[in-house]
């Protein structure tokens, strides 16, 4: 069964360092998303991406964040200069079309900023 895959599963980084989280969405999906879940808190929307551009972004998704789909399969989230409060689980999700509604999530990448 096709699935969304994410790497790394866990990354530890020093404050101020750049981090890239990678996602491979399901191959025939067209809409891509990043969500974040701070430990013990709810899942929060970061950004959506369609047709090689950002469709929508939340207040959390400031200038330190960027996304791209460099090669037609990977979908990456970059944090330029990590802060302690960026420590969270980051989930990638994708879906084929908007009408079905269902998002398929990856297993998440845990980011720990020291």
């Amino acid at each position: 069964e096709p699935e969304v895959t994410q790497t790394p599963s866990h990354q530890v980084t020093q404050m101020g360092q750049e981090v890239i989280l990678r996602c491979v969405p399901i191959s025939n999906h067209l809409y891509f998303y990043w969500y974040r879940q701070i430990l013990g808190q709810k899942v929060e929307f970061l950004v959506s991406f369609y047709n090689n551009e950002i469709s929508e972004k939340s207040e959390i998704f400031d200038d330190q964040f960027s996304v791209e789909r460099p090669d037609g399969s990977n979908f990456t989230l970059k944090i330029r200069s990590t802060k302690l409060e960026d420590s969270a689980m980051y989930f990638c999700a994708s879906r084929r079309q908007v009408l079905t509604g269902e998002l398929f999530f990856g297993e998440g990448s845990r980011l720990t900023v020291l």
Binding site: Y33, V43, S55, F105
Partner: protein, 114 residues
């Protein structure tokens, strides 16, 4: 803005018993989708059940069913014949029509006890 409220942070149920998880939401939209996602310790979020707001009939998926009350903006999840594998965090989520992000509740941690 849409909000989703899950008023039960934690619940427990005996194996084979039935449990109901509550969810309420706030929206001015008429057409939308509602979801319950399960997040086991493996972290990946898995869709349990979905409901389209225009459908009056409550959705069911095997042991899982919902009680969708559109006027009351309520969307509870009933798990029948609870199994140990149902132990997980359950998130209620709302989505407007179109390429819009999921809005999650804070989650309910369900423990199924043998």
């Amino acid at each position: 803005a849409q909000t989703v409220t899950q008023s039960q942070p934690e619940m427990s149920v005996q194996e084979a018993e039935t449990v109901t998880l509550s969810c309420t939401y706030d929206t001015s939209e008429n057409n939308y989708y509602l979801f319950w996602y399960k997040q086991p310790p493996s972290r990946q979020m898995i869709l349990v059940i979905r409901q389209e707001a225009y459908k009056q009939q409550n959705a069911t998926e095997n042991r899982f069913s919902v009680n969708f009350q559109k006027a009351a903006k309520s969307f509870s999840l009933k798990i029948s014949d609870s199994q140990l594998g149902d132990t997980a965090m359950y998130f209620c989520a709302f989505m407007k029509e179109g390429n819009t992000p999921l809005v999650f509740g804070k989650g309910t941690r369900l423990s199924v006890i043998a």
